[in-house]
């Protein structure tokens, strides 16, 4: 059988309340585990066990300068509190996989050389929590004023000891909402003051498998919602 090879063409990168997809041309999200040596008598070889995990996010692309643009966005995140960052595997449709974590900017390197386009290299580090392989509950879309239900997705029940994570990115306008099972709120997003993002975690166990995002927009609002269990 021939390998299934995906040529990378479309990927979405949402950082807080900013959509960076059209500014970037490479993104690398890596999950690492410390390698802790646990060799003891009478081992004849080095023995290693996985230690703490670490998540790093590297982004590359073209810098733009101005209010709300790339340069301002990255500088505002350097050394500041973590915000949710969602990276989609593909084009970011509802039901597709997206990875989400809460991260802060650790380095930003704009490069401006004569005759070249201004480019950047931006690195982020995890700000606690976890990296989640989530399901896109609502693709990025502009919602009219009022309540909107997303499609229900079978994410499974949350076992004891696991957690449900969810992030809502608001790119313009203002929104509140929830992630529900059978009409009951399991995660609540309070209303944002404007563009921004929220990252929520609830502990299991939670019964029920069909999860749905319900978002209330205040005026026309562009929203993206992702959720997953880990």
């Amino acid at each position: 059988m021939t390998a299934i090879v995906n040529i990378i063409k479309d990927r979405k990168v949402y950082l807080g309340g900013v959509d960076l997809s059209g500014d970037e041309n490479e993104v690398n999200l890596t999950l690492e585990f410390d390698m802790k040596e646990c060799t003891t008598f009478p081992d004849s070889a080095h023995v290693n066990a996985p230690g703490l995990s670490k998540v790093t996010l590297n982004q590359k692309g073209f810098v733009s300068f101005g209010e709300g643009l790339v340069d301002e966005t990255f500088v505002a995140r350097l050394g500041k509190a973590g915000v949710p960052v969602s990276v989609t595997q593909k084009g970011g449709l509802a039901g597709e996989i997206a990875y989400v974590t809460k991260a802060w900017g650790s380095s930003y390197a704009p490069r401006m050389a004569v005759g070249e386009l201004p480019s950047f290299d931006f690195n982020m580090s995890q700000a606690g929590g976890a990296v989640i392989r989530g399901t896109i509950m609502m693709a990025k879309a502009t919602l009219a004023d009022g309540a909107h239900q997303g499609t229900a997705f079978n994410l499974g029940a949350v076992p004891e000891g696991s957690k449900m994570y969810a992030a809502m990115h608001v790119f313009d306008g203002s929104a509140s909402g929830s992630i529900q099972i059978d009409g009951a709120d399991k995660i609540t997003f309070e209303q944002t003051a404007g563009p921004g993002s929220l990252y929520k975690v609830v502990n299991g166990p939670i019964a029920g498998v069909q999860w749905r995002a319900v978002i209330t927009a205040v005026g026309p609002t562009t929203v993206f919602v992702v959720a997953g269990i880990a």
Binding site: M1, T2, A3, I4, V5, N6, I7, I8, K9, R11, N25, E26, V27, N28, L29, T30, L31, E32, F33, M35, T39, D43, S44, A45, H46, V47, N48, A49, P50, S53, K60, V87, Q89, K90, I97, Y99, V131, R133
Partner: protein, 137 residues
Amino acid sequence: MTAVVEVIKDPFLSVDGTDISDQVSEIQLNFALDEIESTASGDSCHVYVPGLEKPTASAKMFKNYGAGSVDELLWNTRGQLVPFVMRRKRAAKGVSNPEFTFEGFMGQIPLISGAVGTAEELTINIGINTPITRSTS
């Protein structure tokens, strides 16, 4: 002796019991030993003796998505010790197709990687937790 040259065409890799050879483009297993210095009186150069084995392993593969995919397998086994099986061919193990087995974990998992217009390919580095077993039957 004339060199026996055989181009690698179908390396085998199984992770946690799942055969992902279809997606694999390269596997690598490195045997190494600690070099313990034993230089002593009378020696005119550094002298070493073999210490503990220090194997490393890695695999390069194309990422696919969905049920039973590389993406799902890497995520579901993250941070866990799982069995790995490597052979130079997919055919059953034999004298000319030894099988290497060990338990390990993926020390680094690229969840999302690559630039626009490139194939989504990733390399996993495997932390080895047990001695490597080589078998031919």
